[in-house]
Amino acid sequence: MQWPPRVRSVASIAGLVVLAPLLGGCSALYPPNAATDQGADIRNLYTVFLVPMVAIFLLVEGLILWSVIRYRRRKGDEELPVQTHGNNLLEVTWTVLPTLLVLALFFVSWQTLNKVDAESKPELTVDVTGFQWQWTFAYPQYGLSYTGIGDQGPVLVLPVDEVVHVRLHSHDVIHSFYVPDFLFKRDVIPGQVNNFDLTLKDAGVTYSGQCAQLCGMDHYQMRFTVRTMTPADFQAWVQAEQTKTRATPTPPPGGSVAGPTLQLSASNTTNFDQSSLTASAGQPFTVVLTNKTAGAPHNFAIRDSSGKVRFTGLPLAQPGQTVSYAVPALPAGTYTFFCSVHPNMQGTLTVK
């Protein structure tokens, strides 16, 4: 049938409005290229779902648009349209066809699920511990462990082409280990160790990740980095790190004591139990930190009024530990002490 020009121009404008963002957005409608074998499977599966969904979208929006334009009531048309109450054949069709479609999609998805969740004999096992609001990445077979400080998350170094088995631990609240380039996340749940395998594809790449499950005040800062290496480079990196760790043995908890001793404790991740400390000017002193927080490590650090960090106590006091930090002499003045892991935990240090 011939439409009046006004209707045609309205229709073509409407068509443009609907189609232009769709065409432009086609690449934007995809997740990033997957960094892992498992992620690549998920990305393929996403396509299998996206294509019928976009097709249904276009079909239904098209039908709505068509009905609205074609069956609008003309001026002066007072006659009732035919009062159709239904059509069994049509209704059965649009019940059965979608059912078959979703069943097919479900079976494809189930296949991928079995592949993605499969676990084989791992060449490397990594322990990931999430706590408010940082991560610890540990390599139990190599005796290496890294904890992030402040808003700088730790780096997880992983070899490519090898099966890496990741174990997820939490001792406080629920977190979620999420790397967008892996197209994957898994919740980190206290009282339950979650596992998954991954096999990375490209060496020499850095991926950013962050916690995906709301875990309190600084959830948004719980970021980390994944760096990939060839298996040979990875072995070299492990040996270099092991040598470095042996060269600087961690002082025993509660060890070196110099000068007067200040007691400090922490029972949560938002503030220290003490809000102020006092020390003498020009004299070294020792801070004994007792960590009473169930899930998270702490330490003791100092910055001056200009914001410059004057002292960072290491190692971190793990939950339940007591650690002594020998602080060198400071000139008189007012300082801020804080926890490097939780920079929001602050107090006033008066040196006089």
């Binding site: 934007a28 409608l29 995809y30 997740p31 992620g39 998920i42 599966l45 996403y46 779902f49 996206l50 969904m53 979208f57 239904v60 009905s67 609205v68 069956y71 609008r72 009531r73 003309r74 002066g76 007072e78 006659e79 009732l80 349209p81 035919v82 009062q83 109450h85 239904g86 059509n87 209704e91 649009w94 979608p98 059912t99 979703v102 069943l103 999609l105 998805s109 189930w110 699920l113 993605v116 406080d172 629920i174 999420y178 967008p180 994957f184 996340k185 919740d187 749940i189 206290p190 009282g191 339950q192 979650n194 962050q210 709301l214 875990c215 309190g216 959830h219 948004y220 970021r223 169930a294």
Partner: protein, 556 residues
Amino acid sequence: MATTVLAPGATRIYQRSALYEWLTTTDHKKIGILYLTNSFLFFLLAGLLALVIRSELAVPGLQFVNSSTYNQLFTMHGTTMIFLVLMPFLAGLGNYAVPLQIGAADMAFPRINALSFWMLPLGGILMFSGFFFGGAAAEGWTSYSPLAQAKYSGSGTDLWIVALLLIGTSSILGSINFLATIFKLRAPGMTLLRMPIFVWTVMVTSLLILLATPVFTSGVFMLYIDRNFGGAFFDPASGGNPILWQNLFWFFGHPEVYILILPAMGVISEVVPVFSRKPIFGYKAFIFATLLIGGLGFSVWAHHMFTTGAVYLPFFSLMTSLIGVPTGIKFFNWIATMWRGKITFATPMLFALGFLTTFLVGGLDGAILASPPVDYALHDTYWIVAHIHFVFFGGTMFGVFAAAYYWFPKMFGARLDEGLGKVHFVLMLIGTWLTFFPMHLLGLEGMPRRIADYSPAAGWTDLNTIATIGSFVIAISVLPFMWNVFVTLRGPRDAGDDPWDAYTLEWATTSPPPPYNFDHLPPIRSERPLFDLKYGHGARRALPAASLATADEGAH
């Protein structure tokens, strides 16, 4: 059609002051209007919270609020929108329309009805008072344990719990009231299969509330015991199980999604036929689909927990895939209703069309999430935020506004202005797409939800800025609506009984109806008794319309 004339003496009622009358009323129509007004006030409040959230996210860096306040903002936004806006909006519409549509004089338990309503503002005030007592709840509307345990969160969470106990009790009482009304007070001739679709959706919704909400209220009560009396239900540190909370919460939380969408679908099923001048296509299939959604709705809850590693994935994936089918049936029914109709575009119909075009996305982007591996990628990202808002804002809120424009003449005897209504619709439609569509792309790029800030290096800035602009367009769109209500209520009340040439019983009485609703009822021989009265039962072809159409028919 001539305006109904009430029997002499019908309007003589016991006179009280307006304030006393509104505070103590047990009239379902007044309680319905109270529900709607209260919901609208909380809608403005939750909208303001959303504007602060969107302003904070417009560009990287913390400009307006710190992260602790930010967490309170989205927690209160989500909780308010779901429990104090959408649910009571629909309960209010049900309260107003259900007794009228089935030809009853009132709800079955008028005083319980008033009680159900008055618990809501009380609960809302309690929940918001957290802002003045050391911070409101900040664990998200899902309030996952252990984060919601006393050692990780403040007293705002206790207020949140108490408020939800009140609101939960209110909806349980309300649902019993609806069920009793629908099963016992239908007018003679109003069989179950002659009830308007809206009444059917309220009935199924009430069943869902009755089965799901007690589980939730028990859950929050257990959380209260955990926090205050050392219970060990959900805290692994004392032998509890955090996944148990998630199971209890989502056993309620997923049917809740259908609680919030079914009555809106009911509204659309009232509006689309009337403005297409055809009956709903496939009435029985529509009811079947509604019942199917209600039933399947109880077997999909763990799709919110695919990434916990504590769920039997294939079962919940299968059930979630299947639940898309009945919603698809409804879409085809609505389109077939418009097909070969004679569609007019009054504001209620525009909002119904907004519902169809926008809610569709919320259905499709949700169907993708039924696949556990895809959910591994998209769960807890902005894709989820996009999905929930396409369903609840693009779906339910468009349905609510369609209903508001549709039933306003019945409630107050005056039609809202069409011009202002169209401005409202266009702005709201543009704002909705501008705000929520980019969130899909943010989710694909890996932006997690519930974060107060993001790095400028993440590449999420442009899309976030667009979403923020969209949110302000939505906010502006509400202004013409408020002005419209204000102006219309000051104008003449000349809408007449049946301004839309509609089909159902509420249009067979005066606007507004008398306290007892009906002087006399037309015979009820189909799901469109008023249509039968005007055009003859079983009309398949047009009757000479001029003699029957309402006087103002040519106006739209």
